[in-house]
Every structure is written in C-alpha cells, then in structure tokens.
Amino acid sequence: MGPLIPLDIIPDTWNNVIAVAIGIAFGFIMEGSGFSSSRKIVGLFYGYDFTVLKVFFTAAVTSAIGLLYFGYFGWLDLSLIYIHPTYLTAAIVGGLVMGIGFVSGGYCPGTSLIGAGIGRIDGMVFTVGLMLGIFFFSETFTWLEGMYEGTGFFAGDFLGYITITEYFNISPNIFIVGFTIVAVAAFYFTNLIRKRVKPVNY
C-alpha cells in the first residue's frame, strides 16, 4: 500500500501542502514539550534535564517499531523508503560542527526556529547564525566539494545507501529490540541521575 507519495496514491503535488501541515504539528508539539528553551535543551549536556533524550529516543524507537510492523503486514514497502547516503568524513565533520553548535548555542536548527517563533531573542540570534553558516558553506563549497561528494582525497568515503543492519549484516528486528532495551535503560538511568543532581531553575 505505502509509501503513499512514491506510489502515487497521494499525488506528488500534495507534497508541500502535507509538509506544511506536518511542520506546524511538529513545531506545536516541540514547543509544547519545552523545546523552545535553549536551557532545557542543553540540560542534556550538563546533566540536569533529559527531556531531549527521552523525546527523541521515544520518537526513534516508536517509529522504528511501527515501520517494521507496517512492513511485515504489507502496508508499507520498506524497499521504497528513502535512505540517506553515507559519506564517512563528511558525516563525522558535519556531526562535530552540529554538536559544537548545539551545545554552545543551545539549539538545533529546528528548535531555533521554534524559539524565534515564540519571540526568544537567543533563538533569533541562533537563526541568523544558521543563515550565516549556510552562506559560508555555499561560498567555500569549491574547497569542500571533495569531502561533500566523496571524491579526490576523500575517495572511498561514499558507502552507498546503507543502513547499520545491512552494514553489520544483522536482522533489523533483532537490532530494534536491542535498541529499545537500550532506550528504556537510558530512560531509567537518566532519571536516577536527574534525581541526584541539584535542580536547576530555568
């Protein structure tokens, strides 16, 4: 049956309309979970608030389990799902840039827009920084191109459209069970940590 748009059950022209609707719902729920506060988000790094970990781990586990069940019942053709290609060095460097920006600015790109949307000044400043980053990346693209496309010095970086379970040749179902157990264990232990740490008012 699914995916709905690649199989043309929903026409391609509805793509942007659906994206806007999902975007509004996403922003609304993120704001409701307190993700418009940079201090709440960086609480994960300093160890006084683990909401970010709980929300994202729950989202990942729920959708992964749901996708596997949908695929099993034949509601969704998992071979048609888009898988992001892996460029090794680019992923590591990009992850570092993202992580440093995350912990120093207190936002990730999406939440900075939520912060700006409800009028937080740090969110607006972060959004401007985001745009500047895009500008500098575009201007220096000719230097970074090899890393971006896995050519030249970075040849062999491109690992294709692989997933972790394909790379290590394990069953996705077993991997997801392990992932779920790790997630629930993480919820439990972060709860213990949060109780021991001196509460922070923000």
């Binding site: 069940y69 099993y72 034949g74 997630a183 629930v184 709860n191």
Partner: protein, 205 residues
C-alpha cells in the same frame, strides 16, 4: 519512577520483542499476484526461435539457455550451450546462482513452450529478473530453423531473407544441406547456331 513510566517502558519492550517472535513474513521477496498477472498477460517474455538462433550464432555471452525438460531428453538432444534444469528441480539451491542474477538473459525452453512458461512463472514469482521463454519451444525450433519451409515465389523479399538466414542457421546447428544455388542466368541457354561453312564449288564446266 512512577508506575505509568514503568508500564510504558515495559510495553515498549514487549512490542519490540513481538518483532522477533513474528513468523517470517510470507510476502517477503515475492512478486504480488497483481504484478505477476500483468507480466503474465504481456507477451514480451516470448523470444522467437529466430532471435535465439541469431544470438547463438553471434556467440552472444549474455544469453543463458535453460532446458527444463527431463535429463534423458536433454541428453538425447538440446540446443548448443544449454543448461539442463529439469522443471522438478527448478527450486533447488544449486541452480539459484544461474537464475537469480542480473547480468544475463535467461531463456527457458522445452518441447513446446508450456513447461518453459511454467518455469518462467515460478522464477518470476521468486523475483528473478531478465527471464524469457523461447516461443514454441524445440518443436517450433525444428519447424522454423532446422527444416525451414521455402516461401512461395511470390513472397516478399524479407521472407526470402528470413529463409536464407534459417537455412544458414540450420547448417550452423548441424542439420540440413546447403541449398544448391544455381547460377543460371537468363541468356545462358541460348543455343548456339552454328553456321555451316559454305562450300565453294570447285571445278567448272
């Protein structure tokens, strides 16, 4: 930790464990019936014997002939280079590397095209690619390639080209004598009229 969180955590683990307990899915790696029917209705899987013959003569490396008849029939006669996979053994693992690949065109054939078509349906159902059936099987092969019928004199020149190709193919595959090509040209048989020498009367009165 509150009771609700404990219950939700336990539920998450239970649901994920369900993924492991599930029996292996039946529609895995198989072609759904609707798609199979569409492919079955399309006649594009049939390759005429002429096309198979042309590719064999050209020594096309991308063609893989598979004889689905029983071993005895295969050993008495088969097409050159054909591999014997009797229909009954089609699903054996030994043959998977030949059938489940992307680089070659697999052509099934049998005496008619019924058994070959059955092999085609089974293999298509398993999701294998580039599968064909030789139209009419070996019977049509014999009728068309090994013992081609000479087109009537009034036929189009294409029919004669096809006929000469088939004659050549028959010779290539070891059968049929080359056609006796007569080089007679009109005008050759014109009788030569010899003039008799005029004898000059000798002597006189």
């Amino acid at each position: 930790m509150s009771k609700t969180y404990f219950l939700l955590g336990a539920l998450l683990i239970l649901v994920s464990l369900g993924l492991v307990i599930l029996p292996s899915s039946e529609n895995e790696d198989k072609v759904p019936p609707e798609k199979l029917l569409t492919e079955l209705m399309s006649q594009s899987r049939f390759l005429p014997p002429d096309m198979v013959a042309a590719r064999l003569i050209d020594e096309d490396p991308s063609i893989l002939l598979i004889d689905v008849r029983p071993v005895e029939e295969y050993s008495s006669y088969s097409l050159p280079g054909a591999l014997n996979i009797p229909l009954a053994d089609l699903l054996k693992n030994d043959w998977q590397p030949y059938l489940n690949q992307n680089s070659m065109d697999v052509v099934f054939f049998s005496n008619g095209d019924l058994q070959a078509d059955q092999a085609w349906v089974l293999s298509t159902r398993l999701g294998f690619k580039n599968l064909y059936v030789m139209e009419g099987g070996l019977n049509l092969w014999f009728d068309q390639i090994m013992q081609p019928e000479k087109p009537p004199a009034s036929a189009a020149s294409e029919a004669f080209d096809l006929y000469s190709f088939r004659k050549g193919a028959a010779q290539y595959f070891g059968g049929g004598a080359p056609e006796q090509v007569s080089n007679k040209q009109s005008g050759e048989n014109i009788p030569i009229i010899r003039r008799e020498k005029k004898t000059v009367a000798a002597g006189g009165c």
